[in-house]
C-alpha cells in the first residue's frame, strides 16, 4: 500500500486528559457532560491548544451531543463529527477515525473522548434493558443478560478445545492487579493472590468476580492532529502508526448470535483487524513492545493475544503462564496501568491513555525503550478495532 494514501505516522496524539477514576456511582454530583468536558479541557491544556480551536470529534459506541459540547466549551466551528458504530469495539478505532479526518483535510484538531457514569443502570446489564426484538429475544429469553454471560460461553468453549484453565484466567487478573498497585490512577490497591481468585464468588461459569472488569465513572480524552503541526506543540508527539476497524463477516453479531464458524467461535473477533493492522505497520507482533488489550473479561485477553499473533491459536494459556504478559520481566507487558480489571473501566479509553504514556516515556510502569504500543478495542460485535502507536525518535 502506498503511504501516500495511508495514515502511517501522518497524525499524532498530542494531548491527553482524564478525570480521576471513581467506583461506579461515586462521581455524583458531577454530570456526565461535566466529566467529558473536564477531560477535553485537560487534554487541550496538555497539548497547549486552546479549547475553541478544537474542530472535530470522533466517537465510538455512545450517544454524544457535539452541539452541546461545542456550546459548553465555546468551540467555534467543527468540520468533522463522526462515530464508529457497534458497541464497545470502536475505542481504538476512533483514533484512526480522527486520523482519517485529518489526513482527508476535514479537520485539524480532533478530539476522541469517552465518558462513563453508571448510576442506576449498570452497563453489565445493558442488553437486558434493550426492548426485546425479533433478534434479541433469542438471547434475552435464555437469560443472557450481559456480556459477562455471553463471553462465558466463548471461554467455556476455549477451555474445552485447548485445555485452557481457570489458572490461566487468574494469571491475567493477578498480573493486571500487580500493575495497578504501582499506577497512581488505578482504583484497586490490594494485591490479588491465586487463593483470593479461587475464593471469589462465581458469577457465570467459568467467569468469577475477578474475571470481570471494574465498574467505573470517569472520562478520558485525547487530541489528534497532523504530524506537521504536532512538532510545534508542547508534548513529544505519539504517532498514530496504524489503525484498523471492522472485522470478518463470519464474526458478525458474535455474542448476540453465537453462530460463528467453529474455528472462530472461541476467539475475540480481532483476527481480521489484526491482519489489516500489521499489514499497514512497520512491525508485526514481535515488534510490539507493550500491549494495552481491552480487558472486559480475562478470557478475552487470552483470545486477543492469539488473534493478534503473540502466540498460536489455543496457546494463550501457556503463554501467560510463562510470565510473558508481566510488567516485571515479561516479553510483552500487558495492561501496564492495571487495565480495566484493576485500573478503571472507561470503555477502552484507559488503554489509549496508557499507550500514550508509554510512548511518551512517562508511564508509571514504564516499559524500557518501548517504541511501539498496541491498543485494542473491545471484543464485541462488528466493528472491532485496533491501533498501533509509535514513539517519536
Amino acid at each position: 500500500m502506498s503511504e501516500t494514501f495511508g495514515l502511517k505516522d501522518r497524525t499524532a496524539i498530542v494531548g491527553l486528559g482524564a478525570t480521576p477514576y471513581w467506583k461506579r456511582g461515586q462521581s455524583a454530583p458531577c454530570t456526565l457532560q461535566e466529566l467529558i468536558c473536564t477531560a477535553i479541557i485537560a487534554a487541550a491544556a496538555d497539548a497547549g491548544i486552546a479549547v475553541p480551536d478544537i474542530d472535530g470529534f470522533a466517537y465510538f459506541a455512545t450517544d454524544f451531543d457535539t452541539g452541546g459540547l461545542m456550546e459548553t466549551l465555546g468551540i467555534r466551528e467543527v468540520g468533522f463529527s463522526s462515530m464508529l458504530t457497534g458497541s464497545g469495539g470502536g475505542s481504538a478505532g476512533a483514533v484512526g477515525l480522527a486520523s482519517a479526518a485529518i489526513v482527508a483535510g476535514l479537520a485539524e484538531t480532533v478530539v476522541v473522548v469517552c465518558g462513563v457514569q453508571q448510576g442506576a443502570l449498570r452497563y453489565g446489564a445493558m442488553p437486558s434493558t434493550y426492548d426485546a426484538t425479533a433478534e434479541s429475544c433469542f438471547y434475552q429469553s435464555a437469560g443472557l443478560v450481559g456480556p459477562g454471560h455471553m463471553f462465558a460461553l466463548l471461554a467455556e468453549r476455549h477451555m474445552h478445545l485447548y485445555g485452557t484453565t481457570r489458572e490461566h484466567f487468574a494469571e491475567v487478573a493477578i498480573s493486571t492487579r500487580a500493575n495497578a498497585l504501582t499506577h497512581p490512577a488505578a482504583i484497586m490497591k490490594k494485591p490479588l493472590t491465586l487463593d483470593d481468585y479461587f475464593a471469589a464468588p462465581m458469577i457465570s461459569t467459568p467467569h468469577c468476580l475477578f474475571d470481570f472488569c471494574l465498574e467505573t465513572d470517569g472520562a478520558i480524552a485525547v487530541i489528534v492532529t497532523s504530524t506537521d503541526r504536532a512538532r510545534d506543540l508542547r508534548q513529544k508527539p505519539v504517532y498514530v502508526h496504524a489503525s484498523a476497524q471492522g472485522g470478518a463477516g463470519e464474526w458478525g453479531r458474535s455474542i448476540y448470535w453465537m453462530n460463528m464458524p467453529d474455528d472462530s467461535f472461541a476467539a475475540s473477533g480481532h483476527a481480521a483487524v489484526a491482519r489489516q493492522l500489521y499489514a499497514r505497520a512497520d512491525v508485526g507482533p514481535s515488534g510490539i513492545d507493550t500491549a494495552q488489550i481491552y480487558d472486559h473479561f480475562t478470557s478475552q485477553v487470552l483470545m486477543q493475544l492469539e488473534d493478534y499473533g503473540f502466540c498460536g491459536k489455543g496457546e494463550s494459556g501457556d503463554f501467560v503462564a510463562s510470565g510473558a504478559i508481566r510488567f516485571d520481566g515479561g516479553s510483552l507487558p500487558v495492561n501496564t496501568d492495571g487495565g480495566q480489571l484493576s485500573g478503571g473501566y472507561i470503555w477502552g479509553m484507559s488503554h489509549i491513555r496508557e499507550a500514550v504514556d508509554q510512548m511518551r516515556g512517562t508511564a508509571a510502569n514504564q516499559v524500557r525503550d518501548a517504541r511501539f504500543a498496541l491498543v485494542t478495542g473491545g471484543p464485541s460485535d462488528i466493528p472491532v478495532s485496533g491501533l498501533i502507536l509509535r514513539a517519536a525518535a
Binding site: S141, H160, M202
Partner: protein, 147 residues
C-alpha cells in the same frame, strides 16, 4: 447435593416475532422444533434472517427436526441477574448444536438437569415451556443426566 438447572427469570422471556422468525415460534407452540432452511441452497441458519447469506434467497423451508442436539457451549449463571431473582439461580444458558440442521445453533437453556453434569458435547433433547402469554419456548434437558 445435586444442583438442578432452573429457568431464567420469567421477566426476561418476551417473545417478539417478525415475519422471518414467526414460523419458529409458532412451531414451538405446537411442540415442534424447527430451523430456518434456505429453500434454494438447503443451508440452515439461526436465528432466522430475511436473506440466505450464501445465496441471498428469501425462500425458506421449516422442516421438523428430531428435537435432539448436543451442547456446543454453556454457562451456569450463579449470581442473580436482576434484583429479586435469586430463586432462578442457578440457571444454564447454552448454545445447542441442532441435530439435522448443521451448522445452525440455537441459543437456549438447559433445564431440569444436573447443573454440574453438563459438559460440552453432551446430548440433549428439547422440551417446550408454554408461557402464560400463550407463547412457547424450546429449551433442552440432558439426555443422560436428567434430574
Amino acid at each position: 447435593m445435586t444442583r438442578i438447572a432452573k429457568r431464567p427469570p420469567d421477566v426476561l422471556v418476551r417473545i417478539v416475532a417478525d415475519r422471518w422468525t414467526e414460523p419458529f415460534w409458532s412451531a414451538a407452540c405446537d411442540d415442534r422444533l424447527t430451523c430456518a432452511q434456505c429453500a434454494n441452497c438447503g443451508r440452515f441458519r439461526m436465528p432466522p434472517s430475511p436473506f440466505c447469506p450464501y445465496c441471498q434467497s428469501q425462500d425458506l423451508n421449516w422442516p421438523d427436526l428430531p428435537g435432539t442436539g448436543t451442547v456446543y457451549s454453556f454457562t451456569v449463571v450463579e449470581r442473580a441477574v436482576l434484583p429479586g431473582s435469586e430463586d432462578s439461580i442457578p440457571y444454564v444458558a447454552a448454545v445447542i448444536a441442532l441435530d439435522g440442521a448443521e451448522p445452525a445453533r440455537l441459543i437456549s437453556n438447559i433445564v431440569d438437569s444436573d447443573a454440574d453434569a453438563i459438559r460440552i458435547g453432551a446430548p440433549v433433547r428439547v422440551v417446550f415451556d408454554h408461557l402464560s402469554d400463550g407463547q412457547s419456548l424450546p429449551r433442552f434437558v440432558l439426555s443422560e443426566n436428567p434430574a
